[in-house]
């Protein structure tokens, strides 16, 4: 025990020194920059300070501020950290078997921040995630938007709004996944009817609150499920909607118009069949790519070309991992396969970053390399769409959260014995792994 304490003291001393030396002010010089907004820059400079991007530009045009630690990034490519609009890591569980619509359930109450999945995610270049409950319900709960800062609890990962509240959307689904035995619906018609009924309740609830005009005597009893749906009706909470078949896609659009909620269509396997209709409705799509069609009837027409077709129709397109469906470490691959099938390179890069940020109302903070935005970025060894390219480093809010040259991080990047275990929490003076 005494030995541990002494080691602790040394550790603290080192840590303090390290923090002072860094001052959290870095200039990355010489990399190819893919800012997403604006053209790629062959020989660029990226300056980040205290968690924010301060300068992005060509070498020679951006002066490196005094006090900034200069990091030679020659031969590397830097682009924004990837934004994954649909992810299930963290050992999460949403609504239970008691009913098909459970807006009261918050996914973050089930999240294990020490899951090894988060280490794999930063190894894949992901920095911002929408963590969602599953698709076995019409509405399986509230999603949470997180930053992969590292940390022991979900509180360390929250992206907070200006009032300090955690941000997130709501997860809905239609089609066959949410059709189950009672009390779940058995048909598509019933599915839509149950959703409609619930949103009507939410409208009435909102009206009661409005009519009460702040009078506690007249206010309805609190209903935490309806409260979440009122946020949806008011556009404060975006609906992230699992949907595959073309007719299911149109049903989502119909319901969103009827109740005026903001929606992102997720998966959209048959989106290519109704691309113009989706474009006309102005609804964004978060597309999944998997290596073959099928696995269920509604996904037999899933194709690599969906992203490209939606792009050409004028739809805002993002991709998602749906991790564990696709391992977060190969998220770049999803966009690359879309390029293989006809999507433009620019749109595919945007689909991994800024488009996703827009679908989570986070585009003022993440998704591009622009002064004033969060310093979330990845250093790549080569072209983002090459199988041979490695994510070398991942930075979140000016802190390095993944370094391929660090053996501890490398283990999660490629896998190996122990990579499947939860991460060791960072404690200042006690290495969980060494002492176990």
């Amino acid at each position: 025990m005494i030995r541990v304490i002494r080691v602790a003291a040394v550790g603290i001393a080192l840590l303090t020194t390290a923090c002072k030396a860094q001052e959290k002010h870095h200039a990355f010089v010489g990399a190819r920059l893919i800012p997403i907004v604006g053209d790629e820059i062959e020989n660029g400079v990226l300056v980040v300070k205290n968690g924010k991007i301060t300068h992005v530009g060509r070498a020679g045009e951006v002066s490196i501020p005094t006090g900034a630690q200069r990091i030679d990034a020659g031969g590397k490519t830097i682009m924004p950290g990837l934004v994954d609009t649909h992810n299930h890591i963290g050992g999460i569980g949403g609504g239970d078997g008691s009913g098909p619509i459970q807006p009261d359930v918050r996914i973050y109450d089930s999240l294990n921040a020490l899951s090894s999945g988060f280490k794999r995610a930063v190894a894949g270049g992901l920095t911002t995630l929408n963590i969602m409950p599953g698709s076995g319900h019409l509405l399986s709960g509230q999603t949470v938007y997180v930053k992969l800062r590292g940390g022991k609890t979900v509180e360390d990962l929250f992206i907070q709004d200006t009032a300090g509240k955690p941000t997130g959307g709501i997860k809905m689904a239609n089609g066959t996944n949410s059709q189950r035995d009672k009390p779940f619906p058995g048909t598509r018609g019933k599915s839509a009817a149950l959703v409609r009924e619930k949103y009507v309740k939410a409208q009435e609830y909102r009206e009661k609150i409005t009519r009460a005009d702040g009078d506690p005597e007249k206010k309805p009893d609190r209903d935490i499920g309806l409260e979440a749906l009122v946020e949806v009706l008011e556009g404060k909470r975006i609906v992230h909607h699992h949907t595959h078949r073309h007719d299911d896609i149109m049903t989502v659009i119909r319901l969103s118009k009827e109740f005026g909620f903001r929606v992102v269509l997720h998966h959209v396997s048959e989106g290519w069949k109704v691309a113009d209709e989706i474009a006309q409705a102005g609804v964004p799509c978060s597309v999944i790519l998997v290596d073959s069609p099928g696995g269920k009837l509604e996904a037999i027409n899933l194709l690599f070309k969906t992203g490209g077709i939606l792009e050409k129709a004028g739809v805002n397109v993002a991709f998602h991992t749906d991790d564990w469906i696709t391992d977060s470490r190969v998220f770049f691959r999803s966009a690359a396969l879309a390029v293989r099938a006809g999507m433009s390179r620019a749109a595919a890069l945007r689909a991994l970053t800024l488009a996703g940020a827009e679908m989570m109302d986070l585009s003022d903070r993440v998704g591009s390399l622009e002064a004033g935005k969060d310093a979330d970025f990845v250093l790549l060894g080569g072209d983002p769409f090459s199988v041979y390219t490695k994510v070398l480093e991942t930075w979140v809010e000016g802190e390095k959260v993944f370094d391929r040259s660090d053996p501890k991080d490398y283990l999660y990047a490629v896998g190996g014995y122990g990579a499947g275990e939860d991460q060791s929490p960072y404690l200042c003076c006690y290495d969980h792994r060494e002492n176990n």
Binding site: S116, R120, V290, D291, S292, P293, G294, G295, K296, L297, A299, I300, L302, F304, W324, I325, T326, D327, V330, R333, A336, L337, V339, R340, F385, S386, V387, Y388, K390, V414, G415, G416, Y417, G418, A419, G420, E421
Partner: protein, 409 residues
Amino acid sequence: MRSFDKTVLFMTLAGLALTSFPALAQVAVRGETIHTMAGPAITNGVVLIRNGKITAIGQAANVAIPTGFLTIDARVVTPGLIDTHTVVGLTGIYNHKHDQDQLERSAPIQPELHAVDAYNAHEKLIAWVRSFGVTTVHTGHAPGELISGQTMIVKTTGNTVDDAMLSDVAALAATLSPMAQKREKGKSPGTRGKMMAMMRAQFIKALEYRQKREKAEEDKKPARDLKLEALGRVLDKELPLMVTANRVQDIANVLRLAREFDIRIWLDGAAESYLMVDEIKAAAVPVLIHPSMARAWGEYKNMSFETAAKLVRAGIPVAMQSGYESYVPKTRVVLFEAAIYAANGMTFSEALASITIDAARILGIDSRVGSLEVGKDGDLAMYDGDPFEYTSHCTGTIIEGKIVSDRVR
């Protein structure tokens, strides 16, 4: 360049419609790079295929294309790809009861089942993998029961299983991993120990059966037992036992079983085999490595993108498989799985060999397929760039001289 290739292929196929099909028996494929897998790659080469077999291969300057041959141009040509363990044809795209024949769950030991009796040559997933260059698959039973049946090797073409057949019985499929454990109370096997006990008892029974059949008087021979006959073929080393095992203790069990009964093994999955390199090498066991993009949880939780490279460097024969998927993607594509291994320690040649010639050697079909050599089957795949690159396309697939895929994918 890419659009040029597409145009060429399109023109070729347009021409195809005008000619009669038998003309396809004579095909010339011109490749900017031809990876023969039987020597160094050929730059600006030609492969001639007549009546389904390769009749000439070499540099364009040395191989004249006879008149009457349909000529196809490609940037990169490889042998037709081989998937050493899949379930396509038994598993179907819909994932409904009616198209899921990859695993019989009524009993843990059913070696008498034949993949050939369950193969749907029209299955869409076969056409899907074919469109990425896969021409030969070792297909059959999915992991999940202790001994689940006899696998087979087919070409990814044909109207019936007989048309597609390369080897009607290739291996006996087995599982020594938690996937084969029963969770229900009172059902066996429920533990690793029980799995091994049941497996050993079954092989001992097969040994005794074989002795009795060989030595007993004609009228005292035991009645034929299809289960024990199948196991007997494994004991005779006529068939390998393909055993799925991923955790280190499960791999050790497989090797122990092989020693006790002196049987041939194909180690399937092998996620933690990087811990067992010396032992696997000493046992001369080839590895059908799990898909690189398998999900890193359960018995795959410690899987590594670098395992294939580590095994190959140690001199262990390694081949790729698409494996079995219960949900989405309904099948993986062995080309994509090899690509991730190619980017994580394997050389380009090692990775390509693991889906061509090395795969053919492990499966024992290298006299027919796996490399582009005179006398071998005219099976090849064409690409418009490095086949492993995400953004390259497969521009066509040929099996025994016939174009079986004309999509640019």
